[in-house]
Structures are given as structure tokens and as C-alpha cells.
Symmetry: C2
Subunit: 227 residues, 2 copies
Amino acid sequence: LIRFEEVAKTYDMGATQVFALQGVSMEIERNEYVAIMGPSGSGKSTLMNIVGCLDVPTAGRYELNGEMVSELDDDELARIRNQEIGFVFQTFNLLPRSNALRNVELPLIYAGCSAKERRERAVDALDSVGLADRMDHRPNELSGGQKQRVAVARALANDPSIILADEPTGALDTRTGVEIMDLFSSLHSSGNTIIIVTHEEHIAAYCRRIIRFRDGRIESDEFNVEA
Amino acid sequence: LIRFEEVAKTYDMGATQVFALQGVSMEIERNEYVAIMGPSGSGKSTLMNIVGCLDVPTAGRYELNGEMVSELDDDELARIRNQEIGFVFQTFNLLPRSNALRNVELPLIYAGCSAKERRERAVDALDSVGLADRMDHRPNELSGGQKQRVAVARALANDPSIILADEPTGALDTRTGVEIMDLFSSLHSSGNTIIIVTHEEHIAAYCRRIIRFRDGRIESDEFNVEA
Ligand SMILES: Nc1ncnc2c1ncn2[C@@H]1O[C@H](COP(=O)(O)OP(=O)(O)OP(=O)(O)O)[C@@H](O)[C@H]1O
Ligand SMILES: Nc1ncnc2c1ncn2[C@@H]1O[C@H](COP(=O)(O)OP(=O)(O)OP(=O)(O)O)[C@@H](O)[C@H]1O
Ligand SMILES: [Mg+2]
Ligand SMILES: [Mg+2]
């Protein structure tokens, strides 16, 4: 499914360079449930942006379902993103002037869904994250945790086969966080591939495999025997 | 120092109303170290915005250092905010086109500091949160946790007597989070008043008092004997 070979990402800051990722090689099979952990600035979000075809590596090879992603054109990348991948951004990226329902409908518009089906699926997704009573609120009319739950609902609306979630419970209290993780776990048991960035051990405990990063490199990659 | 009497905040959404805060009465003395906890959507950020003079209550009285805040004009409110209060927002609110150093210098420009002193204090503040090597990065060139640490540095730069921090460690790994809390604890022991919103019990454990909210009301208000 996902294969990285010596992937690197370097940012050129003029006088200096930042090595966000260095020599990353890993494979993630279909229907895996993986946690990505590591200190602040260690390259986790950079990795997720590349896996999700939102950014390209500076060096190395990235293969997704047998296709060399670095050789695909923009249209093919957009097709993969829209059909295969649901993304929960660390910074939410909600449209400020659209309400919660509209924000969740957005990926369904690209997928060519009818207006009626779009609304039904968006309502279901918001209900599944406990926001049935906040659908007509715009982002500045929602609390921090509510904004995060809208971002999770948007990632689920299109029923993607790969879910990439960057700190999906960071702004949530423990109980709300557990509800979101139960949602991801049930998506995992129906066959989806789930990759979650978290710095909380009790969230990573839901996953089957934990890959730890430090300074842009894989520090460890272990199966989680408790899950 | 801070006295709330039956403070309420209601948002009028047209057909419905949202009761973000209802009948909140509390007192916080100078040099207290208080944690605010509660589920997502329970009114924590709404409370902090009112305490920080960034928003006004719909009903009730708010007294700060003996002055009735609801009767002050905008200039007086701005003076209190700039001199007395350092604020770490839940959504960071960094200026996107300014680098980390410039973002931290910002409150010092309003305080009338010389350019030389401004730069020195901003460099010190960024160094104290572990970002000496990211000063010339703009927000989109920083990781999530690094952005949060810039927001913390900005709140400290002006050496305020009251620090209001809304989830100051939410995007940080445990070790970086502990470093930030040690910073707050040393500010507390030099006489500052610190109020922290968090949903993590191990962060609240640093504080001397824990006030828990539910559905816009105070559910409990206890001293933390371990601290
Ligand atoms: N501008 C607004 N218009 C309408 N409703 C609002 C507005 N701002 C906040 N709310 C509502 O007020 C309630 C309290 O929000 P608040 O941001 O204080 O919650 P919180 O306790 O900080 O939650 P979180 O832990 O998720 O950050 C929420 O239910 C939210 O939807
Ligand atoms: N556009 C950019 N230009 C320059 N440097 C960048 C850019 N984006 C990220 N970086 C740097 O790359 C490194 C990795 O960033 P990344 O966002 O992947 O970290 P992270 O592991 O997600 O951290 P966090 O847990 O704080 O979110 C950081 O040191 C960051 O400062
Ligand atoms: Mg990140
Ligand atoms: Mg909040």
C-alpha cells in the first residue's frame, strides 16, 4: 500500500537548511492501524503531508498502491487525494465563512455527490462526532474542541480507504477523545488503513503499531502487543 | 484581584440561543495558580476571553483590581490588557507574514519599548521556550508545537502580572510540555497570577486550585493538595 524508500524533505531557508525528514524507509500495509509519535519538530506532520500527496519529497521514492507518486501529475494526485484519503489537519483548516455542515460537505462536492446525498452524509458524519446541535455554527462560533471534531467529520464524510489524522484529539477532553478513537477503531475493523499522529501514549495505545520519529528519522518501529 | 458575580454569556444564533456561561461567581486572588478544566464546549475559552478583557459578559459583574471592568472604556481596557495580561490563545493567533521574533516583539511595540530592548526581550522569551534556532521562521515554516511555543513566548515577553493560557501544552509532547509548565511555575513563584485551561490532569496537577466547568457553570472548585 504505502512504501517509502530513503525519503527526505529539506527546507531551504537561504543561509541555512532544515532537514525535516532524512532517509525515511517504511512500509504500511492495507488495513494497518499505525501511530506516529515523536517530539515537537521531529517531522511527523511533514511525513503525513507527503503520505497524503499534499507535499512532495526532496529526495527518495514514495509508492502508493504500486504507483510511484512522485511521477504522477497534479490531476492524478488530486484523484487519489479525493477518493482514497481523508485528512485531519493539525491546524484544522476549516473555511471560516462556511458553517460546520458546509465544511463537512466540501470533499463530497469534489466527489460529485448529489446535493441531497451530500447533506445526508455530512449530517451523519457530524452526528457521529457529537455535533448534531452545532451544524449551523461557523468556525468562530465553535469551541476549540468542536472545531477539531468538525475536521474529523470532514475527513470521514467521503468514506475514504486511508485516514490520516494529525493530532485528532489534541484539543479534546479525555472522554470526547475516547469517543473519537472508538470511531477510528470501528473504521479500522471495517477494513480501512488508519495512520494517527499523537503525542499521547493512551491514544497511541489504540493502534497496532507505533513508529517513533526523532530529528527527521525513524527512531523505533514496534508492534503494540496490548492493542 | 478577579471577582465574577453571576456572570453570563449568551450567543444569539437567531432561532436559538447558546448559553456559553451561566451564573458564574468566583474570586481569584493575586499570585494564585489556577487550572480551569471541563469537557469540550463547556465555556472555558469564553471565561478566559472575558477575564482577559477581550470580550464582555451578557449579564453579571466583573471586577478586576477593584475596577468594574464592564464600566471601563476601550482605551482603559486596552491599557489593562497591554500592561497587566499575557494571553496564550487556544488558536495561537500568530501573524502569518511575520517571523517568530516579530510575532513575539508585537506586544512590546504597544508597550513603547525601544527597538533594541524589544529585540533582546523577544530573543530571551523565544530562547526560554526552546526556539532559539527558529526565530526567523514564519508560522507556516514551523511545526504545530513550535507555533504554540511562539504563542507562549509572546504572552511572556511583556512580563505581565496575570498570565492567561488556554491549552498552552495541547500540541506539545510530554517533555516539551513539562518544560513549559516549569516556566509557568517559576513565574508563579515570582509573584504572578497564573490561570491555565487544560484538559490534561497531569498539567492541572501543577496548579494549586482546580475549577471544573460543565455546560457553562462551575461544577467544582477545589484546592489541589499535591501541588
Ligand atoms: N461566537 C459564538 N457564537 C455561538 N456560539 C458560540 C460562540 N463561541 C462559542 N460558542 C459556543 O459556546 C460554548 C462554549 O464555547 P467555549 O469555546 O468557551 O468552550 P471550551 O470549554 O473552551 O471548549 P474546548 O475545550 O472545546 O475548547 C460552545 O458550545 C460553543 O459552541
Ligand atoms: N515550510 C517550512 N520551512 C522551513 N522549515 C519548516 C517548514 N515546515 C516545517 N519546518 C521545520 O521542519 C521540522 C519538522 O516539522 P513538522 O511540522 O513535521 O514537525 P512535527 O513533528 O509535526 O512537530 P509538532 O509535534 O510540533 O507538530 C520543524 O523543525 C519545523 O521547524
Ligand atoms: Mg505536527
Ligand atoms: Mg476552548
